[in-house]
Amino acid sequence: MQELERVGQGSVRVTRKSDKLVIVEKDLATEQMVLAMGPQHPSTHGVLKLECLTDGEVITEAIPCLGYLHRCFEKCCENVDYPAIVPYTDRLDYLSGMNSEFAYALAVEKLLDLEIPRRVEFIRVIVSELNRIASHLVAIGTYGIDLGAFTPFLFCFRDREIILGLLEWASGARMLYNYIWIGGLACDVPADFLKRVREFVAYFRPKAVELQELLTGNEIFVKRTYGIGIMPADVAINYGWSGPMLRGSGVKWDLRRNDPYSIYPELDFNVVVPDGKLSVIGDCLSRHLVRAVEMEESLNIIEQCIDKIPSSEGFNSRVAIPKRIRPKAGEVYSRAENPRGELGFYLESDGKSTKPVRCKARSSCFVNLSAMKDLSKGQLIPDLVAIIGSIDIVLGEVDR
């Protein structure tokens, strides 16, 4: 081991003096540094600016600055008819468009008190769960790549391509579907669709296991996420967390189970909560594990739906859609379990117009991200990247 000689105080210069390493420090700056992470940054998962006040490598505060993707969703909704809002809801959380449309359709159907044909309900659940798997694949793949694991990223996207192909076959678009309409669907699924979905489920099961081995079985990944960004359950509820974030803190709360909608009461699936064996409950690794295991639960849901779905004999996906959607005067707050948490829609109708008086999207990512300032106190900058990845934000939903 070489001897070190320290001379003076301040900025570091390392020189070699006859086989001895000399560290000369001069004018060491000790004030807090303001580091702007974003809005263009590969690890912020979108246009998010984090103003980090750092003391060296330790963050004293990381303040999220939003609004870079604000597209005035709520104002637009007041100017268009109820059915025309469906493409806007796609673009909120663009990685899980089917789920967002589903949540919106549920809200309007509550105001209208509509009854939906059974086959429509089953197809809605199938495409929503497929979209959930696709969304979790992006979350897991990009989380790995943020932390330096390059391989799972493309494995995830390879499998996601198959799902996107299936959804394109059903709805016509890969990502922004405009498929789940108020009162029904745009069209029925193609003839062999369910057969191909079943094949996909069989194909994907071993791939999900492989993904677990690649990430959770990787010591470096575990070391970077174990015990980082711990959020206790009651604080998480107070912050309004929902979805995998809340389940990662140990709260067994899933809207598909606890506030059920559509045909979820008839389906058998587990609500995934970490047991504390592989991870600390409430840390980044727990949240990642919840997403990884949820994909397998979604596969079970899809299989059950394909087994139980009524036949397409004489089926018209638009039969229950009213000619003019003009809900009676009233308000509703309705929510659905998005891959990122609870997506809620508050709708107010005045009973006379075909446009909503107020349409508010309660965004899961917006609320999940609000805890960022407190979660990041005292963390190292690389751990901040691990925390952002575990929150799994999509700026389309944060900013609307």
Partner: protein
């Protein structure tokens, strides 16, 4: 609602929760609008809103620990703006309730409940950004979605978009 139609269980639970609030706060809260889609009460004395909020969160039979959503709303006919908060007792008593609080459009204030539920912090900033009501006691009340130097409150019904922003023509 038709006469004699059975009230759903969730509305019954909300009504029971409302009764507990009304026993303590009496005239400070309005009557419950027990509709099927979103039963709500209105806080008539907005000065007592934080007190009511703490009561709702901590009372043993209410336990509204989860604020699902806070929406800003414009009431142009009444000359007011307001908020609508949706609460649930998550994983505890499971009942839901909505609360409305209103204030004047020009210079109106609503006490902030961001210290009761952290969810309210950003939701109140968003309501301020888009509607313009001031939340007194909020730790950091500034715009969140619009740029910090944006003029006007976009989601108000009488909002006119500004002509120019830093020299860029805004209306297209």
């Amino acid at each position: 609602m038709e006469e004699g139609k059975e009230v759903s269980r969730s509305v019954q639970e909300s009504t029971a929760a409302y009764k507990i609030i009304q026993e303590t706060f009496g005239a400070a809260v309005s009557a419950l609008d027990a509709n099927e889609t979103m039963p709500f009460l209105e806080v008539l004395e907005s000065g007592r809103w934080v007190e009511i909020a703490l009561f709702m969160r901590d009372h043993a039979k209410l336990k509204f620990n989860y604020m699902a959503c806070m929406t800003g709303v414009d009431y142009p006919a009444e000359g007011k703006v307001g908020i609508i908060c949706n609460f649930q007792s998550l994983a505890l008593l499971n009942h839901k309730l909505a609360v409305k609080v209103k204030c004047d459009r020009d210079g109106g204030c609503i006490p902030s409940v961001s210290r009761v539920w952290h969810t309210a912090n950003w939701h109140e900033r968003e309501a301020y950004d888009l509607f313009g009501m001031i939340f007194t006691g909020h730790p950091e009340l500034k715009r969140i979605l619009c740029p910090d130097d944006w003029e006007g409150y976009p989601l108000r019904k009488d909002y006119k978009v500004q002509e120019r922003y830093h020299g860029i023509k805004v209306p297209y």
